[in-house]
């Protein structure tokens, strides 16, 4: 398995896209920190970046990578290697390389400009988001053999989680505003990894406005170490569910 991961990593690095991604993140983060004035503001701007571009790039890159390495996968499948192992190596190879790019591109500026718990949460959230969206990309890729269709599904997933979902939530909150919705919003947050990540970072940052009743509730739930562990546990669940289901599909499918 390690050998396959190594090959996948080498392949990705050869394509140079990952290096461009790293440089892009690095320049953007340094720029935002210098522009924002206070490190808190830099973190906030970075949060928007992490929650919007990181999922998009992860999902698009991972989908195209999967389809492009289809021949390699077919070759591997012809060898006496467990299909699940092949799949997991592909997944881990892509996820590791993208996370490494993220850690270098965002993590290093964060350590330089605003090292603290908030920065740490931001980087951790970003890494989780990368893993989650690579997993979703792989899920989209194993569902269909058609590359265009696969990329379409992947983009739709990104669009759903980054934009449409919040719109739906807003609509639900507005429509049912006469009811106590605090726990409902909590549940709805858990159903979207991007929202979950945003709230984890925000609770450490822009707390004052989040207060209110809902904010206080969030704070009481996510504020403690156990709460944070639960939140990251949920994110881990968000990684595992698509990975395991796509692995299952991949293992059983006729290639």
């Amino acid at each position: 398995m390690n050998k396959i991961i190594k090959y996948v990593l080498l392949d990705i690095i050869k394509s140079k896209i990952i290096i461009a991604y790293t440089v892009f993140l690095l320049l953007l983060s340094i720029g935002l920190f210098n522009l924002g004035g206070s490190p808190d503001k830099g973190i906030l701007s970075l949060l928007n970046l992490v929650l919007l571009t990181v999922p998009l790039i992860s999902i698009v890159f991972a989908t195209t990578h999967f389809y492009n390495s289809y021949e390699f996968i077919e070759l591997m499948v012809a060898q006496p290697i467990n299909r699940k192992k092949i799949f997991m190596s592909e997944y881990l190879g892509v996820a590791f390389s993208l996370s490494a790019a993220f850690i270098v591109g965002v993590g290093i500026p964060v350590i330089i400009f605003s090292s603290g718990l908030t920065g740490f949460y931001l980087v951790l959230t970003g890494v989780f988001i990368t893993f989650i969206f690579v997993a979703m990309a792989f899920l989209a890729s194993v569902i269909t053999r058609d590359k265009a269709k696969g990329i379409g599904i992947a983009l739709l997933l990104w669009f759903y989680f980054a934009l449409i979902y919040d719109g739906i939530v807003l609509f639900i909150l507005y429509a049912f505003s006469d009811y106590p919705l605090e726990y409902a919003t909590l549940a709805m947050t858990a159903l979207n990894p991007i929202d979950l990540g945003r709230i984890i970072v925000l609770l450490n940052l822009d707390v004052s406005a989040l207060m209110g009743y809902t904010g206080a509730l969030y704070k009481s739930i996510f504020g403690s170490v156990w709460g944070m562990a639960t939140a990251f546990g949920l994110l881990l669940l968000w990684v595992l569910i698509p990975v395991l289901s796509s692995r299952r599909i991949f293992a059983r499918r006729d290639l």
């Binding site: 906030l44 929202d195 945003r198 709230i199 406005a209 989040l210 206080a216």
Partner: protein, 441 residues
């Protein structure tokens, strides 16, 4: 040559004599462990009007000392009067009393009598100076009195694990006029300074912090001035209600944090002035309800959740030359009708331009965002804060305003932060705005 000097010398002597005569009018009764008087109560009972009771260092286990003749109670070497939870310590029921330099402590919660360390009842010209009051139910309680000075006292309660109703106020005034409260440090009580039906009083340079409910709380108290106070980390900030003609200047409202905390809560306040204050890290810096004809000027709003929550019941309030920086929401409101004026404030979130370089932005600024309105209407929608969707909606609303109040707008937003010190630039802007306001009238 020598004559005038000599005359002045003589005059000074006479003057000193007169002064000395006044201060030493009456005898001095000393209280200490080895003196004639070993208890304060004894000395107070024996004293004649105008006497001075000098209390020397040591701890006196006493309570229920009633002062019903003009006296000076002065502590020397930090004497402590410990009531041992047996009721009130000093009750002043007569004019011209001074209480100075004492430490009073330990008064139990008493729901019926409202026990205080010092109670002033129907008296005037009372001076309460440099006392330390520790662990009491009420600290200083004035009622139906006038011309009182409360200066440089420290009132410290213990509110850990106590409910609001089990706590009293540090300085409590009821139907008392012409009071000067200055340089006090109050903490750990229910309200730091509480004024009810108090008129023509001054509250200066006090520090009120860590109180369970409000740092400062006043109701029906017209014509008072509050300057240079610091209100920090109180459970619900500062609340002022049903009052006209208040001046609040140079105060600092800081770290009033929590779901129901406000930097400054205004309810039914009219014809008042709020200037040169600093609001920093409050959940809501100013919450305004049914408040009209207020002049809110030269204040700094920094890193608050909401800088201003302006309910539609407010009419004719003016916001000028304020700085709004780092607030999550600058202004929020609960309806579309708006009858207040915003002019020449500095908004950090302003993105307009200034072509003629006169320091005033050419595009009007609407400080209320769609999302702020939404949060006001549906509180759980705070969960979408900083979401891309929300930014998108806000920007759409900025281009085509339909939900946010049309009239809540700063037509002349400033491009640069207002400097409130006396530099020339500021004076110029000030003059311009005042002359503009004059012309409008």
């Amino acid at each position: 040559m020598k004559n005038p000097n000599k005359q002045i010398f003589l005059l000074a002597h006479i003057l000193a004599l007169i002064l000395w005569g006044q201060t030493a009018f009456g005898n001095t009764l000393k209280v200490c462990k080895t003196c004639t008087y070993t208890s304060v109560k004894q000395a107070v009972q024996k004293a004649k009007p105008g006497d001075t009771v000098l209390i020397d260092g040591g701890t006196y286990q006493e309570s229920g000392i009633e002062i019903n003749k003009p006296l000076r109670l002065i502590g020397q070497n930090n004497p402590v009067i410990d009531s041992n939870y047996k009721g009130q310590i000093l009750t002043i029921t007569v004019d011209d009393v001074t209480v100075q330099g004492l430490t009073l402590k330990n008064i139990a919660t008493s729901y019926i009598r409202d026990d205080a360390a010092i109670r002033v009842f129907r008296a005037s010209n009372v001076r309460i100076l440099n006392n330390t009051i520790l662990n009491t139910y009420y600290g200083i309680y004035l009622q139906n009195s006038e011309k009182i000075t409360i200066k440089d006292n420290v009132v410290k309660g213990e509110n850990d694990g106590k409910t609001e109703s089990a706590l009293g106020n540090a300085i409590h005034l009821y139907y008392t006029d012409e009071v000067e409260i200055s340089g006090n440090n109050v903490q750990g009580h229910r309200d730091g300074i509480y004024l009810e039906v108090v008129k023509n009083s001054k509250v200066h340079r006090n520090t009120s912090r860590n109180n369970q409910r409000y740092g400062l709380h006043f109701m029906f108290s017209n014509g008072n001035t509050y300057t240079y106070n610091v209100f920090r980390h109180n459970g619900a900030g500062v609340a002022v209600m049903y009052t006209d003609d208040v001046r609040m200047e140079h105060n600092t409202f800081e770290d009033n944090w929590g779901a129901a905390a406000y930097g400054l809560l205004l309810k039914d306040i009219r014809d008042s002035v709020i200037r040169n204050n600093i609001f920093r890290r409050n959940t809501t810096a100013i919450y305004m309800e049914s408040s009209s004809r207020l002049d809110i000027k030269n204040n700094d709003f920094e890193r608050n959740g909401w800088a201003i929550k302006l309910m539609t019941t407010c009419v004719d309030d003016t916001f000028r030359l304020n700085n709004f920086t780092g607030n999550s929401f600058d202004v929020s409101t609960n309806g579309t009708s708006q009858l207040n004026h915003f002019e020449k404030n500095y908004w950090e979130k302003y993105t307009g331009y200034d072509l003629d370089k006169n320091g005033v932005g050419d595009v009007p600024y609407r400080p209320v965002s769609l999302y702020a309105m939404l949060v006001e209407r549906v509180p759980p929608s705070v969960m979408l804060m900083r979401s891309f969707m929300v930014d998108l909606l806000d920007n759409m609303e900025k281009v085509l305003p339909s939900i946010i109040p049309e009239n809540l707008v700063d037509e002349k937003p400033l491009m640069k932060r207002v400097k409130h010190d006396n530099d020339k630039e500021f004076a110029q802007v000030l003059r311009q705005t005042t002359s503009a306001a004059g012309r409008e009238r």
